[in-house]
């Protein structure tokens, strides 16, 4: 090598290469660290080239000129480097050209896009699982037998007879019966029931109940049971079936006969078979006389559809343990909800006593709907969120695959020119989309397992880890994601190699 330059000339030459490269890179607005790396690498290249020319006998000045001329003649460097903008890490450089073909992409942005898609898929999955569980809860609740039948045909309201109006218990009961009879005579009314509480109306009166056959150890309280007082006609009107025995009569009620009716749940708790409860004796406290169980009725879900059937004791309206001056009426008629029907009910009540206001006027349907309101609201909101999240996830996958396909158009052209099959190209993109989906689904399942524990109180008839919901939702999401990937993948695989290559000339 006949390098005539002394060491300081080496340094100045090096500075010149660096200046040259830096000038070419300046318009790219690279990060300082990235620019420094590229300047180093390309300057070294120019230096190597220069030294080789010198070694070949070219005079130094001429070698410098040739080296610079060759570098400057590369007039598309800036375009090749364009994708390096905004990048801090070694970028992807496709041999792109100014005519809008595969400008390459910085890996940082690529990663960000992928991360976003994965996050969208995971979010969509979590919301879909949560709303799936709520839908299953809703369906399970709809299938629960609430205890009554055809709730839209039952009008309910509450009546209170103050002591100042009628003080005698017997007279109060007579007034309630008279009103029931007037109501029963209204056109279209099938039956009328009177009870201190209608199913799920929120009345909650619980007291201990002693069972003669199962005495409690001294000093301990027997289990608490829901107490209701009722009059004949209540079970028939509500549609609560008689499981064993019979209901009571008005005569038994007025004569204060020691009879009582209990619910099936309660009967089974003590005697397994409802019929075996008949004839057994119960009372509220040691001071009261025993009462004989004459009937066992079907269960009422008094605490809500998502709660177990309540154990209920039905006391005749006139009794020594559970007395109330406020009763609820249930009126069964196909005319419920028609104009004028409530007016007729009001007139019937007032024909007995015009000082009695009707309160809590609602149909049995309203009561049932209210008991499902929380579930229904949560389900609707979650379903909407899940739908939006799914849409975002799908659009994200579709967008990313479409974008990548557009970027790699030229590369696909080359691959296909070199013999790649349509299926290979398609698979390349499908794999990418499915990979993103798989990661998103895996993360989503993990997150859902944690999050659904929080909502366990909202669920009914389905576990937080319900495998059917998880599998169905994951499968559905994967299928939609597959479609969102397949469409751009198919488009990409239809690239004409000649067109793709020509676009780079």
């Amino acid at each position: 090598m006949s390098d005539p330059s002394p060491r300081q000339n080496d340094a100045s030459l090096r500075a010149r290469w660096e200046q040259e490269v830096r000038t070419r890179l300046s318009e790219l607005q690279l990060s300082p660290s990235r620019e420094a790396e590229i300047v180093d690498e390309l300057s070294q290249h120019l230096d190597d080239h220069w030294r080789e020319l010198i070694a070949g006998g070219t005079p130094p000045d001429e070698a410098t000129g040739l080296t610079l001329a060759q570098f400057r003649s590369g007039n598309i460097l800036a375009q090749y480097m364009a994708p390096l903008r905004q990048s801090h890490v070694p970028p992807s450089i496709t041999p792109a050209a100014p005519t809008g073909r595969s400008a390459s992409d910085a890996p940082g942005r690529h990663r960000t896009r992928n991360t976003l898609v994965v996050a969208e898929v995971a979010l969509a999955l979590v919301l879909m699982i949560v709303s799936g569980l709520m839908i299953r809860t809703f369906v399970a609740m709809r299938q629960v037998q609430p205890g009554f039948t055809r709730p839209s045909e039952v009008q309910t309201f509450r009546l209170s007879i103050p002591e100042s109006l009628i003080s005698d218990e017997q007279q109060v009961a007579r007034a309630f019966e008279s009103i029931a009879q007037r109501l029963a005579r209204l056109p279209g009314v099938v039956s009328v029931g009177v009870s201190s509480s209608i199913t799920m109306d929120g009345e909650d009166n619980t007291n201990p109940l002693r069972v003669e056959e199962f005495p409690m150890p001294a000093g301990t309280l027997p289990p608490f049971r829901r107490f209701k007082s009722f009059a004949p006609g209540y079970f028939e009107t509500m549609g609560i079936p008689m499981v064993a025995g019979r209901s009571i009569t008005w005569t038994e009620l007025y004569e204060r006969r020691p009879v009582i009716v209990i619910s099936e749940t309660l009967a089974r708790e003590y005697w397994k078979e409802p019929s075996r409860a008949l004839g057994k004796q119960v009372r509220a406290s040691g001071r009261n006389p025993w009462r004989e169980i004459v009937g066992v009725v079907g269960n009422e879900r008094d605490d809500g559809l998502n709660k177990p059937a309540t154990a209920i004791v039905y006391w005749p309206m006139l009794n020594e343990s559970y007395q109330t001056n406020t009763m609820a009426y249930a009126v069964r008629s196909s005319r419920v909800g028609t104009p004028g029907f409530m007016g007729e009910i009001q007139q019937a009540v007032w024909s007995v006593n015009s000082n009695l206001p009707l309160a809590a006027v609602q149909t049995l349907d309203d009561i049932q709907a209210r008991s499902m309101a929380q579930t229904s609201f949560a389900m609707t909101m979650l379903a909407i969120s899940a739908g939006v999240a799914l849409l975002l996830g799908v659009v994200g996958i579709y967008g990313v695959i479409t974008y990548i396909a557009a970027q790699r158009k030229r590369e696909i052209g080359i691959r296909m020119a070199l013999g790649a099959q349509v299926g290979d190209v398609r698979m390349m993109f499908l794999r990418h989309g499915l990979w993103l989906t798989a990661i998103g689904v895996a993360l989503g399942i993990g997150a859902a397992q944690v999050l659904t524990r929080v909502m366990s109180a909202l669920l009914f008839g389905v576990g937080t880890m319900d495998p059917t919901t998880y599998a169905a939702v994951s499968g559905a999401l994967a299928a939609v994601a597959l479609l969102a990937t397949y469409l751009p993948a198919r488009r990409a695989s239809r690239v004409d190699p000649i067109v793709a290559l020509r676009s780079d000339v």
Binding site: Q44, H45, L46, G74, Y80, P95, S104, L418
Partner: protein, 117 residues
């Protein structure tokens, strides 16, 4: 159309094979950019030349794909140089590209009626 644009075809063939050339040369041992350009020029008897502004973007692209990996190497008294080597993934790609290229060349040869490869 009156004939084949041989210059364009030449350019496309080079572009189509660029990745294969780089990966093949790096498969033997790590090399820096200038060495790669010299080797390609020399081994192709001057038929293939990689200009500085097409070589380095190509290297960056291959590195971004994870097919090659660049490392700065410093030696006493010398400026640092960036050496590239093929990654495990790059080797798989290289094997596939070699196979495809061989099949392509053989196919073209059969069609164009060459008698010896």
């Amino acid at each position: 159309m009156t004939g084949i644009n041989t210059r364009a075809l030449d350019r496309e063939l080079k572009r189509g094979s660029a990745e294969l050339l780089i990966l093949s040369l790096l498969d033997t041992r790590p090399r820096h950019g200038y060495e790669l350009s010299k080797l390609i020029h020399a081994r192709s008897d001057g038929h293939l030349t990689f200009h500085i502004d097409s070589l380095y973007p190509l290297l960056y692209r291959l590195e971004e794909r994870g097919w090659i990996k660049g490392t700065w190497v410093e030696k006493a008294g010398e400026r640092r140089r960036r050496f590239y080597k093929v990654t495990a993934e790059g080797r798989l790609v290289l094997a596939a590209q070699r196979k495809t290229w061989a099949a392509f060349v053989a196919a073209v040869h059969r069609v164009t009626g060459g008698e010896h490869v």
